[in-house]
């Protein structure tokens, strides 16, 4: 079990989600749990709660999981996925209000050092206009 917070990347596009995850792996390394998902169940652009839940499971850490999203449905579906988690996991997963690529790299770098979920989320959100 990782001592680091996990990162989940949710995009409407599987290519963007995978590319973002590639950047995180390349820049930050393999010491953080990382998963990504993108596309609707038919393989088109969109997001799916089932895929988001599977990604959260894949990147699960007892320290928590930070989700980075792109637009609209990625955020609302991620929030719905969090609500559907078992009660003992629900409070340990947070959706970050941050740009997906930059936020994922920043969040992962902060997570790498063993930071808490709140610190990871705050670091990703430092990028957003307040």
């Amino acid at each position: 079990m990782s001592k680091n917070v996990g990162i989940v990347i949710v995009s409407h596009s599987l290519d963007i989600a995978k590319g973002t995850a590639d950047m995180v792996r390349n820049m930050v390394g393999t010491a953080i749990p990382l998963a990504f998902c993108g596309g609707n169940p038919d393989g088109g652009l969109g997001t799916s709660i089932e895929k988001i839940l599977a990604a959260i499971d894949e990147a699960w850490s007892e320290r928590g999981v930070a989700i980075l999203v792109d637009l609209g449905g990625a955020e609302t579906n991620s929030e719905m996925a969090v609500e559907m988690l078992p009660e003992n996991r629900r409070g340990k997963v947070k959706v970050c209000n941050a740009p997906i690529v930059e936020g994922a790299v920043m969040a992962a770098t902060e997570a790498w050092g063993g930071a808490s979920l709140d610190e990871v989320k705050r670091t990703a959100e430092e990028l957003s206009p307040q």
């Binding site: 390349n26 820049m27 930050v28 390394g29 010491a31 790299v105 920043m106 770098t109 902060e110 790498w112 050092g113 670091t123 430092e126 990028l127």
Partner: protein, 100 residues
């Protein structure tokens, strides 16, 4: 209270302190217990070298000078490691071996 250990180093890497080395720089800084700060000017402002957001925002290009300072038990080692990392044009093998 001890004084800051300070060192200035010129960025010689062709692209400067770009994204990937910014992440590595931050990860190296996090490995020390000392406070570690970085600035473009000795007059400041000084930024927390353990903050990836701050380090990424520095955008030090080729030929620019980075000023480093650290205060704490391992300050000397922190400054030696970080200035060496910049001077070696972000030598990836050496820093990876030391820190991962």
């Amino acid at each position: 209270m001890k004084d800051w250990v300070t060192k200035s180093v010129v960025v010689t890497h062709a692209i400067g302190l770009h994204a990937r080395p910014s992440v590595k720089f931050t990860k190296l800084a996090k490995g020390f217990s000392s406070a570690v700060e970085v600035a473009r000017s000795l007059a400041g402002p000084w930024f927390d070298a353990k903050s990836i957001v701050k380090v990424m925002a520095i955008k030090a290009g080729k030929g620019s000078t980075l000023h480093l300072r650290a205060k704490g038990a391992d300050a000397g080692s922190a400054i030696a490691t970080l200035s060496g990392f910049v001077a070696s044009e972000f030598d990836e093998d050496r820093t990876d071996a030391a820190r991962y």
